[in-house]
């Protein structure tokens, strides 16, 4: 076992080359890294936000709002379906998540049921419909959402949100943001170097649902507010806090999805900032039809439930493009353009957690971490050499390779190194040396028991290996659990720990064994330096 075998030598050489190659970019300055030939790794350690500074934002998709919207759609679908089938009904509405309507003519119950079955809800990917339809007492039809469909819907909303957030943030020019799904309905955003999370929140926090709706001039806002809103119309507040509200038709003429482009411009008449937009062909046609039928009337541009402006239609707009003017600054107009280009979020996002670390603090942390690591590593090297002499030197070499392997692996996989992770790394190195201590102490025991140096080495390694593996499996278990449960810095800590456990066993056992093997072959010692 002690005699250096070929595979062991090869494995050690390969691991050293790997460690050096992948760790190297971390110590080279940027321009030298860029100059490296293409086949060499260039990635440096992925430092956590606590080390390099930046912003972290955890958002939750508002599934409640999603459910409310879904129910509203169900009500409207039911209204349309029954009206089209010519069936009279009353009391259409929802209570506790169930939409119900009373069919006026009991003889037409079955007909109504069939119509609703066909016209309301849709097919799910997994089979079955996304709504459950049943009859209730007193000639009512009850429609409820299938939970499974809601879950699928929420999942889809998260995926879409991630995509839209990415587009929005990219447009903002933030450097390398990491946007990840977390759990079922959460999204974590990490933006290194971004010191102002409000900028992120401004652009993420808005749903940006844009619609064009006709203004209902048949009643005044005051009348409507007193509960005399005509069916099919709704009172919406103005985006400008001091302007009065509007009564608008519920039906949207054109929606934000029909936009192909939007950008900030300056309005030629007023000189104020505005957003220029371009519809796709469907949107252009619908907008053209609506404007040519409604000359002299007003239409409202509605963003997230607020009326931005309500211009009067002077002539039919058939070109499919137009301008949104309102109370804009160039910056807010540009933001709106970005939001419109990226598309609307399927549901509002609620920020749940937020952290920002200034780059200065990050730099301090890196410095403190590097000093701690240097002192810790140095202390281990000095102590182990003092304690075990030549064998201590072997252990020290193994430890250095170990550090290279850990840094190399973490650079290669781009695992995050956090500030707590550095503390984890130091302890990992101490535990790595423990493997050598176990082996050497065992060798000493065996030698004291009267074995020859070779036999003592053989037995020492063999016996100690079992303990080492048992002991490291317990460490690996705690690291794996941290990975499973932890988020952010804890995960980074766990990854550092786990990488360390694996590379420690390899370096502390195999590398020292190989070095001792070569040393033994070269010197054929009568006694061991540690006995």
């Amino acid at each position: 076992m002690i005699a250096p075998s070929r595979w062991k030598t090869i494995a050690v050489v390969i691991s050293i080359i790997f460690g050096v190659l992948f760790t190297l970019p971390n110590v080279l300055p940027q321009n030298m890294r860029d100059a490296l030939p293409g086949f060499l790794p260039k990635k440096t350690l992925n430092l956590g936000l606590d080390l390099q500074g930046g912003s972290y934002l955890l958002l939750e998709v508002d599934t409640k709002a999603l459910r409310v919207e879904k129910l509203t759609n169900l009500i409207e679908d039911t209204r349309t379906t029954l009206t089209e089938a010519g069936i009279d009904f009353s009391g259409l509405g929802q209570a506790q998540g169930v939409v119900s309507a009373r069919i006026s003519d009991p003889a037409r119950m079955n007909e109504a049921l069939n119509a609703v079955r066909k016209g309301v809800g849709s097919q799910m990917k997994t089979g079955g419909r996304d709504v459950a339809i049943s009859t209730g007492p007193d000639q009512t039809i009850r429609i409820s959402l299938v939970e499974q469909a809601m879950t699928a819907e929420a999942g889809k909303a998260v995926d879409q949100s991630i995509e839209i957030i990415r587009r929005r943030i990219d447009a903002l020019g933030t450097k390398e943001p990491a946007i990840q799904r977390q759990g079922i309905d959460r999204i974590a955003i990490q933006a290194p170097g971004e010191s102002d999370p409000e900028k992120l929140k401004n652009i993420i926090g808005q749903t940006a649902k844009l619609t064009f709706q006709m203004v209902d001039d048949s009643v005044t806002v005051a009348e409507a507010s007193q509960g005399r809103t005509p069916p099919g119309s709704i009172v919406l507040p103005s985006g400008d806090d001091y302007a009065p509200a509007y009564v608008v038709k519920k039906r949207a003429l054109v929606t934000g999805e029909m936009l192909t482009d939007a950008y900030q411009v300056f309005d030629q008449q007023s000189g104020g900032a505005a957003v220029h937009f371009q519809f796709n062909s469907q949107g252009a046609k619908r907008f053209g039809d609506a404007t040519s039928n409604g000359i002299g009337k007003r239409f409202a541009i509605v963003l997230d439930g607020k009326v931005i402006s309500a211009p009067v239609i002077n002539s039919a707009i058939t070109g499919g493009s137009g301008q949104i003017t309102g109370n804009f600054t160039p910056e807010s107009a540009n933001n709106l353009a970005i939001l419109l280009r990226a598309g609307a979020l399927p549901a509002p996002l609620i920020p749940e957690q937020q952290s920002t670390v200034g780059s200065e603090l990050g730099a301090d942390a890196i410095k403190a971490g590097a000093i701690s690591l240097a002192i810790g590593g140095g202390a281990i090297l000095v102590f182990i050499i003092l304690a075990y002499g030549l064998f201590g030197v072997f252990a020290a070499i193994a430890l250095i390779v170990n550090v290279l392997l850990i840094f190399g692996f973490m650079s290669m996989t781009q695992s995050t190194l956090t500030f707590p992770g550095i503390a984890g790394l130091i302890l990992t190195l101490a535990v790595a040396v423990d493997a050598n201590v176990l082996i050497y102490e065992r060798v000493r025991d065996e030698a004291h028991a009267g074995r020859t140096p070779l036999a003592a080495l053989e037995h020492g390694y063999q016996r100690a290996l079992v303990s080492i593996i048992d002991a490291n499996i317990t460490s690996a278990i705690s690291a794996l659990i941290m990975m499973g449960f932890g988020s952010g810095p804890i995960r980074g800590f766990a990854i550092t720990l786990l990488t360390g456990v694996v590379s420690s066993v390899f370096t502390a056992v195999i590398i020292t064994q190989l070095l001792i093997g070569f040393w033994y072959r070269a010197t054929k010692p009568k006694t061991l330096p540690i006995v």
Binding site: E352, T356, I380, I422, D434, V437, N472, I473, S487, V531
Partner: protein, 314 residues
């Protein structure tokens, strides 16, 4: 001094580890009671990870006006507002929870705006906000992680050794966790998600110690089949002592740099780890082994030599 130092250590030690066990039991019991009293009287200093709220680290242009900062925070901030100096004369740390019904994130933005207005030139070195919902979940998942870690390790040790070893190890590790929590409570160090990571590391290290301890004990139990259990334990511990000393010293030396120079962020974490190393080493000898000694072990295939009544039971 001779080099390598290891040669200066005596070949054999003859400490009566087991003889000290009753005193150690009293010592441990006192510490646990002390921890319990501290939990009851002052509880844990829970960080925003677990209770929700906001932590802001600021740097002001002149010496930090702690009193004015406190006044501003009390005016716009929220409940449990705390302000203290941190990181030099110009630095301060603010902590608060939002008022009932206000989102933590909105409260943070309000406070930041107000601070910028009241103290021109103020810089935010660090801002952390955790909403109430997330903090509850973090707390739950943190403790769940601790529980699952302990159970898995119990299972692993049971599988590798015997049930009483596994229980001895888990009781010892629980002892370590309790005392570590007790220490955090006594010193009122912040208990955060990072502390959970530190605790899990302490558990990992402590278990590591138990495995090494048991390994030697098991080996000696096979070697000395008729020797009383107490003597075998003493022998095993004496054989192991040089390794325990060297590894323990290495670990503490290694962490000392981070402990003293790691700054206020790393200090609670590293301090917990150092304490855990000491207590984990102690509990291997004085919690895990005494439990095994009291319970007795199944001693392989030897011809029944009922040394102790405990053995006869198994």
């Amino acid at each position: 001094m001779a080099w390598p130092l290891i040669r200066t250590l005596p070949r054999e030690f003859h400490f009566n580890f087991v003889g000290l066990a009753p005193f150690a039991a009293i010592f441990s019991a006192l510490l646990i009671v002390g921890s319990g009293v501290s939990f009851a009287v002052q509880g844990m200093n829970l960080g925003i990870d677990f209770v929700g709220g906001t932590l802001i680290e600021v740097q002001t242009t002149g010496p930090a006006p702690i009193a004015q900062l406190r006044a501003t925070l009390a005016r716009v901030g929220g409940e449990d507002a705390q302000v203290q100096g941190l990181g030099g004369p110009n630095g301060a740390m603010l902590r608060f929870r939002p008022h009932e019904g206000v989102s933590a994130i909105d409260a943070t933005d309000t406070v930041k705006r107000e601070l910028t207005k009241t103290f021109p030139g103020i810089q935010f070195k660090q801002v952390q906000t955790v909403g109430a919902k997330v903090s509850g979940e973090l707390m739950k998942s943190g403790f769940m992680a601790l529980g699952i870690a302990l159970l898995l390790m119990l299972g692993y040790i049971w599988f590798r050794f015997q049930l009483q070893f596994g229980l001895g190890a888990v009781v010892a590790v629980l002892h370590d966790v309790l005392l570590t929590l007790g220490l955090l409570s006594v010193m009122q160090l912040e208990f955060s998600m990072t502390s959970i990571a530190a605790l899990l590391t302490v558990i990992g290290y402590s278990m590591n110690e138990k495995v090494i301890t048991f390994d030697r004990l098991r080996e000696n139990l096979r070697k000395y089949k008729t020797t009383p259990l107490g003597e075998v334990i003493n022998k095993s511990e004496n054989e192991r002592l040089s390794r325990t000393l060297i590894t323990g010293t290495t670990a503490i030396l290694a962490l000392s740099g981070a402990l003293f120079l790691g700054g206020p962020v790393l200090f609670p974490l590293v301090f917990t780890m150092v304490f855990g190393i000491i207590i984990g080493t102690y509990s291997s000898v004085y919690v895990a082994l005494p439990i095994i000694l009291l319970w007795g072990v199944r001693r392989g295939d030897e011809e029944a030599t009922p040394l102790k009544p405990a053995n006869a039971r198994s």
